[in-house]
């Protein structure tokens, strides 16, 4: 394997992605990711110099809304699925200040 994923990298990815893995899962994830990156490295065989990265396949652009209020008070529906709510708001563990 050309790519080796370190424990630190795994830890870092966990922070970025907000995922917590058991040690066993971590080992598997390291292997999986390394294998996947080895496979992705195949792209380096391609000469892409001078090729513009393509985000959208066709040139659709300038899709706008007019600045007009179209939505009313939807609080009840918006909060319907909330795991925890209070006073018309979503409730979360205290954010550290």
């Amino acid at each position: 394997m050309a790519n080796i994923i370190s424990d630190e990298t795994m830890e870092y990815v966990g922070i970025l992605a907000k995922l917590e893995l058991s040690d066993e899962q971590k080992e598997q994830a390291k292997k999986d990711m390394a294998r996947m990156l080895d496979y992705i490295d195949m792209l380096n065989e391609l000469d892409t110099s001078g090729v513009e990265p393509m985000s959208h396949v066709f040139p659709v652009n300038n899709v706008f809304r007019e600045d007009e209020v179209t939505n009313g008070d939807e609080r009840e529906t918006i909060l319907k699925n909330a795991p925890a709510k209070k006073d018309g708001s979503f409730m979360v563990p205290k954010t550290v200040e």
Partner: protein, 493 residues
């Protein structure tokens, strides 16, 4: 190297080092649109929590953003007014980070192709004029609000502000002192207010400034390590935070320690800052182009249209006030120093056609009352119509100056209609010749000393007699007429 130079070098190093402060600003401005940047929810302030929300601005699964055209136009207007170039092909990127005020856990912003770049504005400093460069201006969405619950160990999330359009104006590190920072912010605020792109209220958060600051030894070429200071919500707090952070960094360097590049939160009550970073906050935002949004292409025609719609900005207004209305430099400076003030000036002038009189009311009584009330000119709430009417009442002699000042105070505070007010309170100047003659004769009869003083050549005594007459007439006489009548009757006898 000769002894002398080496000696001198050592002496210098023993002296207190001179430091230069290098400051750049990231200014967030809430744009004055009716709706949010990517959905049709209202941006109005003050709704109950989550009453201005929809699936888009609360990050419901499957919802998609659609860009508000007005946001692009306001951003372009600010860019043009700050001498920026415009990226005529620009895109939106996602900035990924987890926080509950950010419902999608990514903020739609612009990293790779911001709408405006390479601009700058001129500020006045004690050392003369100076240009502060603007690195870029980009469009993005605001986050929601977190309220910390007093009773339970939790926070409450309100997404009413989530998706409110912002522009972030990123300056070059061109400022060197708190004064320059304030001058820059003031200028920026005025430009944006003039454009009608935002009301730019620091206290309400519609304008927010983050300060990037580093220090370096005077003459050094390289910048020092910078910190970013957040939570600054007044000009005073900004000035204090700059002073505090400058001192903190110099102290570190003097102790041989290093400044750490970090984001710090300013606590204006404690007048100190502390680092915001936590282990869970990697500050690696994994920006990538938002696949849900398409590029914005700004044609030359569109750009021209925006350019042609740009309102007159302060510099042009200043010049025009001087040439068109013959207003002195100083007064024109004050009048154009606030968009609201300038608007009132122009609208009132347009109605009554007396620029000098309007200017006098604004420069005199208005400024006095603002100071007395501790208000900003932007908070002025009276209507030009009522000021114009008041000027009309004084011009045609319906009321005299003293009464006018009293009435103006009412206009200033309650925006009353002066015509109605004067009528209802019986404040009209009394123009009854017979009545005036009767009162003046009485005053002459009751003040023989002053009369003889006047006749003896003490012309000042006339003033006293005028005062007595006005008092007797309860201020409702025309001072000119009183003067004439007194002079006439005094010379008669």
């Amino acid at each position: 190297m000769n002894m002398f130079l080496r000696q001198q070098g050592r002496e210098e190093s023993e002296m207190a080092k001179q430091y230069e402060t290098v400051i750049g600003l990231e200014v967030h401005v809430e744009l004055a649109t009716k709706t949010k940047i990517f959905c049709g929810c209202s941006t109005a302030f003050g709704g109950a929590p989550n009453t201005h929300t929809c699936p888009v601005c609360t990050g419901m699964p499957g919802s998609l953003p659609v860009l508000n055209k007005k946001v692009v136009e306001l951003a372009m207007a600010v860019g043009l007014a700050t001498n920026c170039k415009i990226h005529q092909f620009c895109k939106f990127d996602r900035k990924n980070y987890f926080y509950p005020d950010n419902p999608q856990n990514y903020q739609i912003s612009q990293l790779y192709l911001p709408i405006c770049y390479e601009g700058g504005i001129e500020i006045e400093t004690p050392a003369g004029k100076k240009v502060v460069g603007i690195h870029e201006i980009h469009m993005e969405e605001d986050a929601g609000k977190l309220i910390h619950d007093e009773w339970e160990d939790c926070s409450l999330v309100d997404y009413n502000r989530s998706g409110v359009p912002l522009i972030e104006i990123v300056s070059e590190p061109d400022m060197r002192s708190a004064d320059e920072v304030i001058a820059y912010l003031d200028k920026l605020r005025l430009i944006i207010q003039y454009l009608g792109a935002s009301d730019c209220k620091l206290q309400e958060g519609s304008m927010r400034a983050d300060v990037n600051l580093s220090v370096r030894e005077a003459g050094a070429k390289e910048f020092g390590t910078r910190t970013e200071m957040k939570n600054l919500n007044s000009f005073k707090a900004i000035a204090r935070a700059i002073e505090g952070e400058r001192a903190r960094q110099i102290e570190l360097l003097e102790e041989g320690k290093k400044v750490i590049q970090e984001t710090r939160r300013w606590d204006d009550n404690k007048e100190s800052s502390y680092p915001m970073r936590s282990k869970e906050d990697a500050q690696d935002y994994r920006y990538f182009p938002d696949p849900d949004l398409v590029p914005v292409i700004i044609s030359d025609e569109w750009l021209e249209e925006i350019r042609s719609r740009q309102p007159e900005l302060r510099t042009e207004k200043l010049l025009r006030y001087k040439t068109e209305f013959d207003i002195p430099d100083y007064d024109a400076g004050i009048l154009t120093g606030s968009k609201r003030m300038a608007d009132i000036f122009e609208e009132t002038t347009a109605i009554c056609g007396k620029p000098k009189k309007v200017s006098n009311w604004l420069m005199g009584e208005t400024l006095r009352l603002l100071k007395e009330e501790g208000m900003e000119p932007e908070e002025l709430s009276f209507s030009p119509e009522n000021l114009a009417k008041l000027i009309g009442l004084t011009e045609d002699g319906t009321i005299n100056q003293t009464v006018a000042k009293e009435v103006f105070e009412k206009i200033f505070r309650e925006d009353i209609d002066p015509v109605v007010y004067v009528e209802e309170h019986g404040l009209k100047t009394v123009n009854d010749e017979g009545e005036l003659r009767r009162v003046v004769e009485e005053v002459i009869a009751n003040n023989p000393q002053s009369v003889s003083d006047y006749r003896g050549g003490k012309k000042k005594a006339l003033g006293f007699l005028v005062g007595q007459t006005m008092k007797a007439m309860k201020g409702k006489a025309d001072p000119g007429a009183v003067n004439r009548m007194l002079a006439e009757l005094l010379s008669e006898a």
